[in-house]
């Protein structure tokens, strides 16, 4: 199994532990990752606000680079995945639009033929690798851990950009992965809501209130941690949780675990190798509870 690796900006900036954990579990699972050093930011929906054509062109450029490698794209960020999926859908549905975009791509001698398949690691683990095969690699089932899912908006909406109709099982993929790895699922309505990150610099009070709402809710449901396939959600839910606790006038202390860290813990990889010490909210109680080697 080989993929064109699209780590996104945040996993090489504010969440280096995500990039680290992804590479480590992929290596152990024999999933080969081909770097794309020329690939750019997807625009994260922000560029698209102002100039959708520009945003779509940047993604077409990345798609063309992956086509050149002859590989499907592996993403590790809900936002990257969603934005790429939306761009891909627009281009596939409208050949004229794609042709116009290709005029811009010719500036770098590139052409997007419309065959790229961006796919989130979460979906790849279930659809391409297979849960059964993944379970063969599990040396330390996460029995006893109570874990709450948190998807990130772009991995749940809009459904047609995520091919939910063709792959209905994507809609509860995170819950199934959590349970397959032996943990107890803490289901809650907030799992598909917004973490608040996009308005952090615009309306911090509201953004932090969203952090408080979701983390407090799973705390009250007895969760040991939240698991997210989105580093932007992680940045807000983890990094701004101390502020959220202050705003909500209550202790929260809810560790926010990246998806590949969850898989890595079940595979017996040490906490240090997975970068679990690089979180703002202390992950030690979880590590101790699960008996994960500190490393």
């Amino acid at each position: 199994m080989k993929y064109a690796y699209f780590p996104g900006c945040v996993s090489r900036g504010g969440c280096p532990e995500l990039n680290q954990a992804t590479k480590l579990i992929c290596q152990r699972l024999d999933i080969e990752l081909q770097e794309m050093p020329r690939a750019s930011c997807t625009g994260a929906g922000v560029l698209q606000e102002k100039n959708q054509f520009l945003g779509d062109t940047l993604n077409a450029r990345t798609f063309a680079l992956a086509e050149g490698l002859g590989l499907p794209i592996l993403t590790i960020c809900s936002t990257c995945q969603g934005v790429m999926g939306q761009a891909n859908r627009r281009m596939k549905n409208d050949p004229e639009y794609l042709a116009k975009i290709n005029v811009s791509l010719a500036e770098e001698g590139l052409e997007y033929k419309g065959t790229a398949q961006p796919k989130h690691l979460l979906w790849i683990l279930i659809e391409d690798y297979g849960l059964d095969k993944l379970l063969e690699q599990v040396t330390r089932p996460l029995n006893g851990a109570r874990l709450a899912p948190f998807y990130g908006c772009y991995l749940v909406r809009p459904p047609d950009a995520l091919d939910f109709e063709e792959n209905p099982s994507r809609q509860d993929s995170l819950e199934r992965l959590i349970e397959a790895l032996g943990a107890t699922l803490v289901d809650f309505a907030g799992k598909s809501r917004c973490c608040g990150f996009p308005i952090l610099t615009i309306n911090e009070k509201n953004s932090v209130a969203m952090v408080a709402k979701h983390t407090s809710e799973v705390k009250d449901l007895g969760a040991d941690a939240m698991v997210t396939p989105c580093p932007l959600c992680h940045l807000n839910l983890d990094g701004y949780q101390p502020k959220a606790a202050k705003q909500a006038r209550r202790p929260i202390d809810m560790p926010i675990i990246h998806l590949p860290q969850l898989v890595g813990m079940a595979m017996g990889i040490s906490a240090r190798d997975l970068g679990l010490q690089r979180h703002i909210i202390n992950t030690k109680p979880l590590i101790t509870k699960l008996g994960v080697a500190a490393g």
């Binding site: 050093p37 750019s40 930011c41 975009i101 770098e108 309505a189 809501r193 209130a209």
Partner: protein, 323 residues
């Protein structure tokens, strides 16, 4: 077809009222809607169940409720399409707005926001000698927004309204766009600058998180969030760039266009402004915590490989997109 409806009920008439779940088994036609099931329960099983409905053909906007956790019109959704393997459907009142009784919510906060955006044409300048002329194209464009039936589904599921009741919200902002995009509104070029100015204030267009809940919830394809994004575009085009939201969008493009990747350190600083001391101090505790935990992005921001070619392409696509 047999279905089980788990309904969240609320009776304000009892001492210390609290919401509770009640389950009803009901038999409906195979192609029956969730509303058919609700009406059958009210008619046959429990006459005290309160709900709003009228047209039964998704045009009056009365029956928006939360079905399996998400807002929608009970009359538009077939029960067979939304029930789980166990034939169970959960029905709750719409979110955000206060519950009056069972599935009936108080729409006053909804109407208050609609009124706040002044939902009527405000042309400036001299009146034309005869009628105002608007192109077919512009009116066709507006028809997708005027398709709104004021059902409140978008408001019910808005993630910002959940934490901040002062936010104008998706329905009112989409309604505002219906006027800012109308060539008859605003100055003689159809630019509604004063309206846009009002909407750039706190609680307005820049407070939307782009979570897309409203787009998914809307039963009429109004896509409120897309209208909010169009409002932002209009505001920037009208020169209303002195807000964190406008700067965030501008700076994001600048940074990505320069290096191909987002510079996470510069984005927040440039958004609030380097000399905005209170905001900069606000970043400090977060920054220090990030530094201690090895999460601070490197101050040396690396460009993507072949950035010169990328910059040329970016510029070309930016210009092509603006046309």
């Amino acid at each position: 077809m047999d279905v089980t409806l788990n309904i969240r009920r609320f009776d304000p008439g009892v001492p210390q009222p609290e919401s509770y779940w009640q389950s009803f088994d009901v038999s409906i036609e195979d192609n029956g809607t969730v509303l058919d099931a609700l009406i059958k329960i009210r008619e046959d099983t429990d006459g005290t169940l309160s709900l709003r409905c009228s047209c039964r053909s998704s045009i009056c906007g009365s029956c928006a409720v939360r079905i399996n956790g998400h807002a929608g019109l009970a009359c538009k959704l077939q029960a067979s399409a939304v029930m789980g393997d166990d034939n169970v459907i959960t029905v709750e009142p719409a979110g955000v707005m206060p519950v009056v009784k069972d599935l009936v919510v108080d729409f006053e906060p909804f109407w208050e926001k609609i009124r706040a955006v002044k939902p009527y044409l405000q042309p400036q300048g001299l009146e034309p000698e005869s009628e105002y002329i608007a192109s077919n194209e512009s009116m066709l464009h507006l028809s997708s927004v005027t398709a709104c039936i004021m059902c409140g589904a978008c408001v019910s599921d808005c993630t910002v309204l959940e934490v901040d009741p002062t936010f104008l919200g998706p329905a009112a902002l989409a309604k505002a766009y219906r006027f800012t995009a109308d060539p008859r509104d605003g100055d003689t070029d159809g630019v509604s600058k004063e309206r846009l100015q009002d909407l750039t204030q706190a609680t307005g267009m820049w407070d939307c998180t782009r979570c897309t809940e409203c787009v998914t919830a809307c039963p009429k394809g109004v896509a409120p969030m897309d209208r909010i994004m169009a409002l932002r575009d209009q505001a920037i085009a009208a020169g209303l760039t002195n807000s964190n939201g406008a700067r965030h969008a501008e700076v994001f493009g600048e940074l990505v266009g320069h290096s191909g990747r987002l510079d996470e350190l510069k984005l927040p600083v440039k958004t609030v402004g380097m000399f905005n001391i209170p905001a900069m101090l606000g970043f400090l505790p977060v920054g220090i915590r990030a530094l201690i935990h090895g999460k601070m992005p490197s101050p040396i921001h690396k460009n993507i490989e072949g950035v010169e070619g990328f910059r040329r392409l970016y510029k070309k696509a930016e210009e092509a997109g603006e046309e």
